[in-house]
């Protein structure tokens, strides 16, 4: 009897949690989807975002993703290769892992402070996509290192033994044998990094700024979609445009997360 009650309670709490998720998605979609037209996506914001679309913020978001990944990918994948293929578990790897875990726990506001003090001020890069991209790449490192490490570890050891026994060097084995098999797992990490770039706000306000102009180079300031949404909503500039931007944010992140999940499953199927 007690068992039944408890079970029913636990199930209803779980249902409630999942209900919240669906409610958020539906609420934003119903309010926001009607705002989204081709014009909304392809015209620049007019009058601080009161009218017009969000084209320049989409471009800025894409630039930021590009710069962040260009820096984080080689660093993260390289680090993961070293940790899995070139060392045994030792004090050194423990320290590196611990540092990486701590980095993953650093809140975005502290990342933002650091990016502002270091890239924007000390290095004199100013509010720019480059400053923001470099700060974001630090944020993405732990995720990329972890997912790459896991996918490299999942590659069967026999593949390496065969390669070594043929007289192939370690580096060639890594690039020709291990990395191709681990690729879907690595891509999962990168896809999650893209989602992180889209949803981040605090870091970006401090490092990229909030200029509404269409960025022409990586040295320009700009405003990503999430920052645009924050400013529209917080200053009450335009609720319809805020809902429209929110809908695009949520739907793109949903799509990205689902594809990351799909990739990860495909990878597991292939390995097992």
């Amino acid at each position: 009897m007690l068992q039944r009650i408890v079970k029913a309670q636990l199930w209803s709490l779980t249902g409630f949690t999942i209900g919240i998720l669906f409610f958020i998605i539906f609420f934003i979609s119903i309010k926001g989807l009607p705002q989204i037209t081709l014009e909304f996506l392809t015209s620049n914001p007019v009058d601080m975002g009161r009218s017009g679309g969000i084209f320049s913020t989409i471009v800025c978001t894409l630039y930021l993703i590009f710069v962040s990944l260009m820096i984080a990918m080689p660093l993260g994948v390289g680090a993961a290769i070293y940790l899995t293929e070139y060392t045994r578990e030792s004090r050194l790897t423990h320290i590196i892992r611990f540092g990486t875990e701590c980095l993953a726990g650093i809140p975005s506001i502290i990342m933002g402070l650091f990016g502002f003090a270091f890239f924007v001020m000390a290095l004199g890069l100013g509010w720019s996509i480059l400053s923001g991209g470099m700060t974001m790449s630090i944020m993405l490192l732990p995720t990329i290192i972890r997912t790459t490490e896991e996918s490299i570890k999942a590659v069967p050891y026999e593949l390496r033994e065969v390669s070594f026994s043929l007289g192939v060097t370690r580096w060639q084995t890594v690039t020709k044998v291990v990395l191709p098999s681990a690729l879907p797992g690595i891509v999962t990490g990168i896809v999650l990094g893209i989602a992180r770039c889209i949803e981040e706000t605090a870091v970006i306000i401090f490092t990229v700024g909030s200029s509404l102009r269409l960025p022409e180079s990586f040295f320009d300031s700009g405003r990503t979609m999430a920052v645009h949404f924050y400013i529209l909503a917080r200053e009450g500039i335009s609720m319809p445009n805020a809902y429209g931007t929110a809908a695009i944010l949520i739907l793109s992140i949903l799509f990205i997360n689902l594809s990351a999940y799909y990739l990860a499953r495909q990878f597991l199927k292939k390995i097992c």
């Binding site: 949690t17 958020i24 080689p74 003090a117």
Partner: protein, 281 residues
């Protein structure tokens, strides 16, 4: 020769994360420490008087607010998260878990500004109309944070529960315990360290969250009197004032960052230690 070079390069890359962490700590401490020494550590940490343009830098009301908001989020979020974790790990059929676990993890992907916005549009008016006060409040921030940390706690707890050896469960059931008794007395006990780690990581996430909290917490500069009073956390203080701060004021915001950094490191290190012990068991 080439191999050696590659190995050295990769080793350097492996240090990138820890290097970034150290650089970050050095920079934030370098910018913030001077002002802490200038006003005195005691004064900085224990005074509630924050008037940076007049030279008063006391962050105690923000520390208290941050802690209360985090504790509130835990009180609301942990039971929900554990309920989800137990259901999905123990009661739900494998097929259902495979779908529902990533669904809950999707909650983590929703941008924090969207949570903050929904808080303002939906939750704040509810609190104002039914409970009184300005609506923008400690309670509103706690509820929003509770939803935001649910996925973290749920997903790590599920892994911890699933890691409990099946023989424990079999042993308990064989002794005539019911499924619920087994969960409560055997499985949750065995998964304890993993669950505690999950909760600590959730706390770290809650105390560090900024954008959602700024939007719903009200940002008033005083010690919270009740769950319905508006509060300003450490994170919101930094984000709200960074735009126009200069000189000592900016330094004081970095000093606020130092306090936050110390909290986060304490959470992370204790989570790490507990996880290690859990792995050894």
């Amino acid at each position: 020769m080439k191999e050696k070079l590659i190995e050295k390069t990769l080793m350097l890359l492996a240090f990138s994360a820890i290097g970034a962490l150290l650089l970050m700590a050095v920079f934030i401490f370098k910018e913030g420490m001077p002002i802490i020494f200038k006003v005195g550590i005691k004064n900085f940490l224990f005074s509630t008087h924050w008037a940076p343009t007049k030279g008063h830098f006391g962050v105690s009301s923000m520390i208290v607010s941050s802690l209360f908001v985090t504790i509130g989020a835990m009180i609301i979020g942990v039971p929900l998260a554990l309920a989800c974790a137990i259901t999905l790990a123990e009661f739900a059929p494998q097929r259902v878990t495979v779908i529902l676990k990533p669904t809950i993890e999707l909650l983590a992907g929703i941008p924090s500004v969207v949570y903050g916005f929904l808080g303002v549009v939906l939750l704040v008016p509810l609190i104002r109309d039914y409970l009184g006060g300005p609506g923008l409040s400690l309670l509103a921030a706690s509820i929003i944070l509770a939803i935001m940390i649910l996925p973290t706690i749920t997903s790590i707890s599920i892994d911890a529960i699933k890691a409990v050896p099946y023989s424990y469960k079999e042993g308990s059931l064989a002794l005539g315990a019911t499924h619920w008794q087994t969960i409560r007395m055997v499985i949750l006990k065995a998964a304890r360290s993993g669950i505690i780690t999950a909760i600590i990581l959730g706390m770290a996430r809650a105390i560090g969250e900024t954008m959602a909290v700024i939007m719903v917490a009200g940002n008033a500069l005083r010690l919270p009197q009740s769950p319905l009073s508006p509060v300003r956390t450490l994170t919101s203080n930094i984000a709200l004032e960074m735009g126009y701060a200069a000189g000592d004021h900016r330094a004081a915001l970095f000093a606020t960052g130092i306090v936050l950094f110390v909290f986060i490191m304490v959470f992370n290190v204790s989570a790490n230690i507990i996880t290690k012990r859990w792995r050894r068991e």
